[in-house]
């Protein structure tokens, strides 16, 4: 049986760990709230862009042709894949789950004979790919829990350009989709090529003809890249929120476990102490009886 001094040390160290994990839990809770607010804040912009695109569509005159971003490729030969992971661990299965989805997809594409250009966001993804010996084109580690639109734009713009030039034929992003506060799951979203739902007969809003200034082509030509960047930005914001929520859960579990362990060790410590006292009393009584 462990000595009481050893047990005391163990209790102290468990309690210290508990303090740390509880603090991290509280920090993540606070950050998660901020991130969730950001998701809500970005929503109207994305919705409005989609709405304008629909309204443009309702004005008819087959806008499909002539836009590099609408290029459809029958058999893609090269695909860019963005993987959004965290810079830090201690967040349960957050990174592992996202990477699993990404790895499976990349393996599948490679097996289909499609080359993949992998762009990794976050240190955890980078080290995982290094460990697997899988190649990546570019790594980014400067994204924190508050990605900005400009940062997102910087990362995705070069890839959009190479799509327009025909160097890559598709673009996907793997990230953790924030469904609601209790549910997040890793998903793969295809951003390019853009699928235009021409059949989208949303007649409820097509109130008369819009005046289009300066021309429908020009508007669409500007709208497409913007809404693409926005989708990427929203993916980053959702991933950031999911990361914080995952970390909060992980730290909550760690705190609960520490609590349990501390209770167990305290009981054990008390028992040893009790045993020692009993032992001592017996010795004293024994000694006294000998004197008699």
């Amino acid at each position: 049986m462990a000595t009481s001094r050893e047990l005391k040390n163990k209790i102290r160290s468990v309690n210290n760990t508990k303090k740390i994990t509880r603090t991290m839990e509280m920090i993540s809770t606070a950050k998660a709230v901020v991130c969730q607010r950001r998701i809500e804040a970005t929503q109207p912009y994305g919705d409005k862009l989609a709405e304008i695109r629909r309204d443009l569509g309702s004005c008819g005159d087959g806008l499909a042709g002539g836009f590099p971003l609408l290029r459809q490729v029958e058999s893609p030969s090269r695909e860019a894949v963005f993987i959004v992971t965290a810079n830090r661990g201690l967040c349960g299965g957050y990174n592992a789950n996202t990477l699993k989805v990404a790895e499976n997809y990349i393996r599948k594409r490679n097996a289909d004979g499609v080359q993949t250009d992998v762009y990794i966001l976050g240190k955890k993804g980078i080290s995982r790919f290094k460990y697997l010996g899988m190649e990546s084109v570019e790594q980014y580690i400067h994204f924190d829990d508050r990605p900005t639109f400009e940062e997102a734009e910087e990362v995705i713009s070069p890839v959009m350009e190479s799509f327009e030039k025909g160097e890559v034929d598709a673009l996907s992003v793997v990230f953790t989709h924030y469904i609601n506060a209790a549910k997040q799951e890793p998903v793969l979203r295809k951003l390019l090529p853009i699928t235009v739902d021409q059949a989208d007969g949303d007649s409820s809003r097509s109130v008369g003809e819009f005046i289009l200034e300066p021309s429908p082509e020009l508007i669409l030509g500007r709208l497409l890249p913007l809404s693409l960047k926005m989708q990427f930005f929203q993916a980053l914001v959702e991933a950031a929120a999911s990361e914080q929520i995952a970390r909060r859960m992980a730290m909550k579990n760690a705190t609960d476990n520490a609590e349990e362990m501390a209770t167990k060790y305290t009981q054990l410590y008390n028992r040893t102490r009790q045993a020692a006292i009993t032992q001592e009393i017996l010795e004293v009584i024994g000694g006294a009886e000998v004197l008699n």
Partner: protein
């Protein structure tokens, strides 16, 4: 004046302004564009330039934007801005 405009200015990171306005002036690609209540439905791309929203005779907001779109539909004006900076 026939009613007022319900105006919203959106940026990627949030809603910048939302409320009633009497007049909106934006910089379209080929010149300035003023919107008064009762304007016909319109979608336009915006260029680099000032965006001005008059809430009342004495109250107005100004921003500098570097691009984006404006949609006008049934006295509802929505501006989705790219690169937006408040100037006053």
């Amino acid at each position: 004046m026939a009613g007022s405009l319900l105006c919203s200015v959106l940026s990627p990171e949030g809603t910048i302004f939302e409320g009633e306005a009497s007049f909106v002036e934006a910089h379209a690609l080929d010149g300035r564009l003023g919107i008064l209540p009762g304007h016909a439905p319109l979608i336009t791309a915006l260029g680099e330039g000032p965006l001005r929203i008059s809430i009342s005779d004495s109250d107005e907001r100004r921003w500098q934007i570097s691009g984006g779109f404006m949609e006008v539909l049934k006295n509802k004006v929505s501006i989705v801005a790219e690169g937006l900076e408040q100037t006053s």
